[in-house]
Symmetry: C2
Subunit: 417 residues, 2 copies
């Protein structure tokens, strides 16, 4: 059995496939008798198998030519696996402690073999729902963001390298279009895919569709998302794309990666933490009111931005005399102008992040794909109450983002809603 053209693998054909790939079979010491295969893909798009025996383990992720959670009626290029593998390798090079190693990529089969993130790794979102604190989360995520965004931007690179990679990732257009549709378009119009906690939020969803100022602002963000090739971004950096233990933080699933605005990644993560915050009231019990946990989430939001800011500026200072094309050392050659440009850059990035984060919150409440943090609140009235507070905050953040100067202002706004 050869694998010279694409076909979806099942647990049986997967073993044949692994036998044909030394980079994979060697992980199992070429012993296929005691092998265990488990299909665990709980995402929206792909099949994911965990393969292990007593000698070792790995994950096989295969993209199918449609959106898994919708079915063949929503086609989606399987070429996304190619861009995911490219992004995993680049992010892994820049932030090796926080990205699983890629062992194997097969473009024909749209298949990636990579490190299995062993227990007790779980999806961060599930930890947030369970109320688990992760003491290193802010440090690790800010590390990942600072390293992947700085080193793929023009602060570090030449225009030549930049345009070459921008051109390559233009090929991931179908995944970009999916984001454009579900984040920047559908929530603001009547769409068969939209849903919300009805009837409670019927009026709220309609208000989103009729808010001209909101539509004006989301158009600006959409243009920036499509047109501005600022850095290689993960493209889907929510709390479901992060696996954690108490000591480890691993960023997975960059199949939406392309050269876009940095704030889209930062905002995605912060926006999903804010959703987790508003969901906590729905998870409170008599024995655990979640108040302390909510404070931990707020502290984490604040730490992530502040640590990111600090690390990003440190990288900039360290490489300010390097090959980065944006601010040539011969021009930005005194500490006063250096401070000026850094302040402006980081302020713009902050406002972008708040805007994109707010857009990601809105789409999770009135768009097609919701978050388990809120969906798992079974009492619909209670869920709607949390969702409305998150939605109202997000609308304010999106429209007023330029008025906020520091992350502490955002924390204060979250407390107000």
């Amino acid at each position: 059995m050869a694998f010279t053209e694409f076909r979806p693998l099942d647990e049986k054909s997967l073993i044949e496939y692994i036998k044909s790939v030394p980079a994979l079979s060697s992980k199992l010491a070429n012993n296929f008798n005691n092998i265990t295969i488990k299909e665990v893909g709980d995402g929206n798009l792909n099949f994911v198998f965990i393969v292990s025996n007593s000698s070792g383990s790995f994950v096989i992720k295969q993209a199918l030519p449609y959106v898994r959670c919708i079915g063949e009626s929503w086609p989606m290029t399987k070429e996304r696996a190619y861009f995911e593998s490219l992004a995993l390798k680049e992010e892994g090079r820049l932030s090796p402690e926080h990205v699983p190693e890629v062992y194997h990529f097969d473009r024909t089969m749209s298949l990636i073999g990579m490190r299995y993130l062993e227990p007790p790794h779980i999806i961060l979102r599930k930890g947030l729902i369970a109320g688990v604190e992760y003491p290193f989360l802010a440090r690790h995520v800010s590390d990942f963001m600072a390293n992947t965004l700085f080193f793929t931007s023009l602060l570090f690179r030449s225009t030549t390298d930049h345009k070459r990679d921008v051109a390559e990732f233009c090929g991931n257009v179908e995944l970009c279009r999916l984001t454009e549709q579900v984040v920047f378009s559908d929530p603001y119009k009547v769409s068969e895919y939209n849903r919300w906690t009805s009837p409670y939020l019927d009026g709220d969803a309609e208000a989103v569709r009729e808010d001209n100022l909101l539509k004006l602002e989301v158009a600006e963000l959409k243009s920036k998302f499509i047109e501005r090739a600022q850095a290689l971004i993960h493209g889907d950096l929510h709390t479901g794309s992060v696996m954690v233990t108490q000591e480890s933080t691993q960023i997975i699933d960059p199949e939406f990666a392309f050269y876009g605005p940095m704030g889209f990644d930062i905002g995605a993560f912060l926006g999903n933490l804010i959703l987790a915050f508003f969901a906590q009231d729905g998870h409170a019990t008599e024995s655990n009111d979640r108040k302390a946990y909510k404070e931990w989430i707020l502290k984490t939001i604040e730490d992530i931005w502040n640590l990111f800011h600090q690390k990003f500026i440190a990288l900039w200072d360290e490489h300010k005399n390097g090959a980065g094309e944006a601010y040539l050392p011969g021009i930005y050659n005194n500490s006063e102008v250096q401070l000026l440009v850094q302040k402006k850059y980081m302020t713009d990035l902050f406002h972008d992040s708040i805007g994109f984060g707010a857009a990601k919150m809105i789409r999770r409440i009135v768009g097609v794909a919701h978050v388990e943090d809120l969906e798992s609140i079974t009492d619909a009235a209670k869920r709607a109450a949390s969702e409305r507070r998150a939605l109202d905050l997000a609308k304010t953040l999106l429209k007023e983002r330029r008025k906020y100067e520091a992350i502490s202002d955002i924390i204060a706004a979250i407390r107000q809603f």
Copy 2:
């Protein structure tokens, strides 16, 4: 003699070449006895031959692998001819009345055969120096800008088409880098290529290099130039890239074309008209004080922006229910929100245009490539006086561009300096 690999042509080998290309030789009715060939390349980069006989004529433009005006010490990819031919064809499709027809392109030879713009066509810049009014100039140039920029933007196109073409034009990176260097970098630092009317402007050139706020603003424009793929822009739309008669306006030389910010084209043209305005005092004689001509230039600047604005909005309205991805009809579906987004879009574009225009003015006074409008003023003191006024205005426009609301404010500012 075959032309299977690149070599620079001279008048003799050019005839052999033409004989081997039916699309060209047919223009001459295959008659090579009474042929005339004239090398007329007065630009900085290429060789240009006019070929004609009694039956017809055309122009041959060949790119060499270096910058012609500097020599082999400044290498420059001859692949630029490929991007020039792509851009000529696309612009010709969108604005056929104002772009010369391409008859032939040879990628191996980096050679374009195109329509010869017969006398009395002259380079617009020379007409401006001579004090000639062109009654259709504003109408024609605004037509060209509105058509080429609108139809290659996301106001008209899908993201799929956009990203495909963005990727293709990423290949023109060497020409983009040249612009980055000579427009956005060299004038703001010590560079062996910079020159200015010395000693008069020594202090002014130094002041540019030490103006932190100016450097802050030019960095923002440089980022936008590199990162923002808004539309297919000409990339070098100054008054030397336009040929005119009283009735005809033809845009040539788009070898710097790529997907960039629209304001770069609009600003280039307006900025060069402002330079022409300030040069007039140096061309005044006792019999012609050029006062009426200066008014015509100001009127032309005002008309170009206003006509562009009007045509661009008309195209937008006409196609607002089309396939353009930026503002979907299902969202921007009432006249109030339509007005809001158009006002914001055009205001941003206006500020971009003023900023880029100012940067183009500055680089023509203290950077490597100057303009004949000013260079032809032989009295250095007089020239420096014109240049200083233009430079001071440009610095103000670049730093304060967001404060201007209409083109009439710019005209008022020009009059003040």
